[in-house]
Symmetry: C2
Subunit: 476 residues, 2 copies
């Protein structure tokens, strides 16, 4: 039989039939400590409790504890509870790693200006906790059961209202699918397109490589469409053939930062209608607009032809793994199916998000962040202007990043090398191109000015300036 | 340009150049309400605020509001804020559905005795909230960034200690992968096995069809191994060829409820060692043991040959979508890769779970549930005994369900038909077999006695008794 005590549920699997119980008990505990089943610091039951549980004399347990303490497996002082001693049992695992260039974990950089990262020190912890309290108070028992693979209805209703009001998205709750981040959402769309016979997906060139890879992993090819100061060149897209969808960032092209021109918006929608091409609108930072230009969702112009993709990764935190798709009705079932049984979001987190949206707390938080980021944007742009030379900041009207175009004075490689030496994490524009042209393209650095916590923004900005300015001493 | 106001971030896209501004404003708001961008109940800005935002006379806005109120698009009373009126805009989506037999959503049944469901009314809401407070207070900003695909280190450390202490699992935190439910975990394992050239996976016969389907979806075949009162028949497994892994439920065979006999445990581990077969230990309800039989994890006997799979779906709630795998070192990287970038759990929920484990609150909760379920088990078994006849309850030593064997007096189909008429959700044993034998097998009903909330257990038990007893009036 096994030794077991109700106070800790420990189960030691000791051969317990024969005699010499004290000895066997000691052996069992020693082995448990040795192979890690009893971790260092684990509080042992009192000798009285264990003796009662095992139906043996208390002295038997006391002797075992004494022997093991002498051997260093247990620690006990008069009056204090006996605990398992520290032995080299559990090796700490590698710490959290986030995608970053140069293969170095993001956390290992002294300064991070990684594009697409919000200031995580702004995460509304108190509001999240309060919303959790309300969500738990209002949730029914049934809410805690296996949920709707499309996402909890309460969250979809809240998102439909929010996206309609703030982003001009035209949708009902049943066209919305709650997802575990934009990568997952894009992957599911790619799977659906592939299953429908799709062969390739068009992307803006330049664009983020990570998302193109998601589409490639789903078995599709990717093709690039050039981008200029008015966004994706729709006439170039029209020249292409064989693609079933195009992924665009109309509100704030990543990484160049252009807003899709109204004429281009109309042309893109028209092209989608006539060719049947599906437009996937990546509205990754649509909430963060610093001018008063109209930039409602493209989706509103053609809800049957445009998939809208939004996320909480920029407004709250990437660690939530919470995003949403607004789909043309015909795509809802296929995406539900692609989502399968293994990609549901936690229902409690969905209910918390619904609380934040319906209570207006989410709007307040986004407004606070918008002001915060606008101020940083201004400081960054001023700094670039001071540096002068051929440096120019582009894509400054919205979002969490700008691209600093370097001109011919210095190369991207030089600047990135200096950034690495200063342990400043930024992204090179070069990594976002889909092709290698004859003439080298102007170098650029994508600066995520939202990433540093407030106290580190000033210093990070100084390091960036030095890296961009590249004082001779530093170039040598 | 677009109308936009800072107080709500609304973006109306109204053609705003020409005159008749009051009229155009009214049109814009009317359209927004009509197509759902302005949802019912949305609070409109004050006429003063909107007028200021648009740089028009306040009277212009007032006229537009008055007109729209007259048309029923807005509702406003003296002194009260103007809100969008209720229009048939948002169609409520279908409510949460959970897998259930007879294709009927679980929530639609009057009485649920669905196997594998905990009593969701026991979910420790207060403890969860308190743990959330602690988790949010202790989390670093970096914790909220994109996390470790293997799961947050803090949770893996807590799981290693807990699983070692309570289930006898031999592991270090870096052999643990946090997953979004057992289906996801099994699916990733199947993907890894398939990529390594695996062709088929052996399952206990009977076993839950849903999980066999997960393996089939990953491109593998399944083969059945008979089960008797001592669990899976290892000698029959030894006869098989071509399978790369076997999925077993050693602590409490689903659905027959046997505990794998010590000799079988030894034989299975030995077979795995000699043939290289991977053993996947589904410890779905290992925490709920009602006798004092030793049932530590099989994994402890051969950590290099056995994958341990555990879940919070039975101890807390399925809606959390939280489970864990303990892997042989060689499988950690492949599973990490299969997990990819699109299946991370929410970091906040992971930190909350770590808090529950390290604080001992989780142990307390499991103990409370164990007592609760043992009492229900006793009541159910007593009732079956009272009914007498050929009815027999099996698999009663552990877990959240028993199987009621019907004998020859009544057929499974009859009982299930009566259950449907009474709106009682139970599972038929027939659905769990992997083959159709020559002679019909004895019918059985799998009763999940944990599923009903406390107030409904008594009534559900009465209905079950009637369904099983099948009074003449009911059979007619």
């Amino acid at each position: 039989m096994a030794i077991e005590w109700s106070s800790s549920g420990l189960d030691l699997h000791v051969d317990w039939d024969a005699g010499r119980r004290g000895q066997r008990l000691a052996d069992a505990i020693r082995n448990a400590v040795r192979d890690g089943r009893l971790a260092a610091g684990t509080r042992m039951p009192s000798t009285r409790a264990l003796a009662a549980d095992l139906g043996v004399a208390r002295g038997t347990v006391t002797r075992a504890y004494t022997e093991l303490s002498a051997e260093g497996y247990l620690r006990g002082r008069q009056g204090a509870p006996t605990v398992v001693a520290v032995l080299p049992v559990l090796s700490m695992p590698a710490t959290t790693t986030a995608p970053a260039p140069a293969g170095r974990p993001e956390a290992d950089w002294r300064w991070s200006m990684m594009p697409g990262r919000p200031d995580l020190s702004l995460f509304p912890r108190a509001a999240w906790l309060a919303a959790t309290r309300r969500a738990l108070a209002n949730a029914s028992a049934a809410d805690l059961n296996y949920g709707d693979p499309q996402g909890h209805p309460a969250l979809r209703v809240a998102l439909a209202e929010y996206l309609g009001r703030v982003r001009g998205v035209v949708t009902t709750p049943d066209q919305i699918v709650v997802c575990g981040g934009y990568s997952q959402a894009l992957g599911m769309l790619a799977t659906v397109l592939r299953a429908a016979g799709g062969r390739s997906v068009a992307f803006e060139n330049p664009s983020l490589r990570r998302f193109r890879q998601v589409v490639i992993d789903a078995g599709l090819d990717t093709v690039g469409v050039p981008v200029d100061e008015h966004g994706i060149q729709v006439d170039e897209l029209a020249e292409l053939a064989g693609h079933c969808a195009v992924v665009v960032t109309p509100a704030h092209q990543f990484p160049l930062g252009a807003t899709l021109h109204p004429h281009r918006r109309a042309a893109l929608v028209e092209l989608a209608r006539t060719t049947g091409t599906l437009v996937i609108e990546d509205d990754y930072d649509g909430e963060f607009r610093f001018d008063r230009q109209p930039v409602g969702a493209l989706q509103a112009m053609a809800p049957d032809q445009v998939v809208y993709a939004g996320t909480a990764s920029k407004t709250l935190a990437p660690g939530l793994r919470l995003s949403w798709l607004v789909l043309p009705q015909r795509l809802v079932e296929p995406v539900r199916a692609a989502r399968g049984g293994d990609r549901h979001n936690s229902v409690i987190e969905q209910l918390v998000m619904a609380e934040l949206l319906t209570s207006g707390v989410y709007d307040q938080h986004v407004r606070r962040c918008r002001t915060h980021y606008r101020r940083r944007r201004d400081r960054l742009v001023d700094r670039i202007t001071e540096l002068g030379g051929e440096l120019a900041a582009a894509g400054i009207a919205a979002g969490l990043q700008v691209v600093v175009l370097l001109g011919d004075r210095t190369t991207e490689a030089e600047v990135l090398a200096r950034a690495v030496r200063r342990s400043l994490l930024v992204m090179g524009l070069g990594a976002t191109w889909m092709d290698t042209p004859e003439r080298p393209r102007p170098g650029g650095i994508i600066v995520g000015y939202a990433a540093p916590p407030e106290h580190a923004f000033g210093p990070a900005l100084r390091v960036l300036a030095e890296v961009l300015g590249g004082p001779p001493a530093d170039i040598r």
